[in-house]
Amino acid sequence: MPKVAMVEALSMAMGSELRADKDMVLMGEDIGINGGVFRATSSLQKEFGDLRVIDTPLAETMICGMAVGMAAQGMRPVIEAQFMGFVYAMVDHMISHAGRMRHRTRGRLSCPMVLRMPFGGGIHAPEHHSESTEAMFAHMPGIRVVIPSSPSRAYGLLLAAIRDPDPVVFMEPKRIYRWGKEEVEDDGEELPLDVCFVLREGTDVTLVSWGAMIKETLEAADKLAEQGISAEVIDVATISPLDMDTIIESVEKTGRCVIIAEAARHCGVAAEIAANLADSGIYNLLAPVKRVTGYDTVMPLYRMEMKYLPSVERILNTVKKVFAVS
């Protein structure tokens, strides 16, 4: 079986579900003949036609608003925001309608849609192409937020997102779209949307991360092993709802936790995880919970972006601090 990158695994998942579910359609800008600017929908229009893989006018609010309407009338639209920087024109429909539809109609209508988007920095992109604002969506009731970090998890999580009966924001870490190729079987098997993945078992410190930062986090764990520190690495993956049980269980074992996120720090998902640890895991902690995050600044243009994003070195320096106190 040939190895595939995350972006190809996503394409496989969409193709698999387009084959299995006649109610599923893809909509977005340049997703048809062009296959998406990152080629995530490459060749899908050729296979399924332009009534299943639908190029849209250049109007993000329209794409999301129509998806809400289509989902409420029984279809399963999977829409793409070309970059996360352009998703803000869709936010009104996500928070005001998608996340509320089932609740406010007492289940009469629902909104089984997926909003996909590439996000995050590190690819030398122009302005507005590099932010990570998953916390914004995670704060919205009624919406699931999912971020894969490997080809196989991308495949299984996207399938689950498409089949989920409620709206899912599916954020794709574009910096690792083509990193870490794996063999991914196109077997239609989904992954659960409510559990974290333990990527590496360890006993001394729990490193919690998601998205593209998993790459640096795993590298940091390798470096720590060289120093005799055994790090457990958890990929949160399902940002909302959040599986704190897996994280707390790990911290019960290690007593130390460092959370790594490329998003800005203030009110971020890392803060929510830290607050939950303070609430439910504090007696197991041997050291304060530390965060390694982006800064609370505007994401810089690309000459400085690698200084903004947490590096392996910043992770290691922070881990050093949680060992200094105990």
Partner: protein, 357 residues
Amino acid sequence: MSATVASFSVEYHQFLDRDGRLFGDDVPELAKDFEKLISIYKLMVQTRTFDFKAIALQRTGKLGTYASCLGHEAAQIAIGSAMRDEDCFAPMYRDYGTQLYRGVTMTEILLYWGGDERGNDYSGPRHDFAWCVPIATQCLHAAGAAMVYKLRDEKRVAVTVVGDGGSSKGDVLEAINAASAYNLPLVIVIMNNQWAISVPRSKQNSAKTLAQKGLGAGLHSVQVDGNDYIASHLVMEEAIERARNGDGASVVEMITYRLTDHTTADDASRYREDAEVEEAWKSEPIARLRKYLESEGQWDDEKQSELEKEAAEMIDVAVKEYLNTPSPGIASMFDYMYAELPHDLQAQKEFALKEAE
């Protein structure tokens, strides 16, 4: 060199003048279908009686903030009577006339404005969208519904309503554009009642009509006297059947007037002259249809008082049902958030129930 490459016009439709006189030589069949007109007239009166009652309930602390539909009865009911059950309605927040015609109950309207989500669980067409408070967003939901009907090759039409104020929002233009790009079975009604809370129509833009927004994307775009039921029904029927037959979407601007405050939380005397409102009452839709029916020998004072009595009784039943509806309960805050309640929310639900003990 220069040449005209495209030119446009917007037609205005009216059959009944404001004194209820039929004019023009082309008398439509509907104008002589008195059985239908009387049933429509009855619903118009019921709608208005209900509206007055809802305002009274709010004034006496028995209902939350309520958005009146006073003055919109003909336009709203015309939308309803031109649609089929299987068509889909995406309302704004004061479209009771259309909704009552389609089967939403008075009790449900009261429940919604009485702070209870169960009001949105319509007994009317189950596929119709819920009341939409964020301005103009419903236009894109209707476009999405129309997209579904097109993709599934179903002969159904989506109809939505937005105000003159709402027509300034991008969602309307994006819905119009989508309808044009995909040839959607969609009708967008711009309910021009002259006021967006305190901002008059003239401050939304300086175009002669709001209907012409549709022309920018090549849609069939017309204006109609929204206080004339006959014209409104016929214009809507034509627009809806065009859409059903694959001949394209329409923008229908209905000219009407909001005869009272924006909602019960508003005070229109702060921003508009009484004289303007008094003048608007002379064109209001119910008196107009009544005068027409009377002039045709189809209606009289006795029938009117019987109708008013029936309407009051019907509304009393709805009000009682609304006031006697027990609280939805704390669990209901959680139970409809997801198809299956996530475990963290399950914990919050248990906490909330325990706190309430």
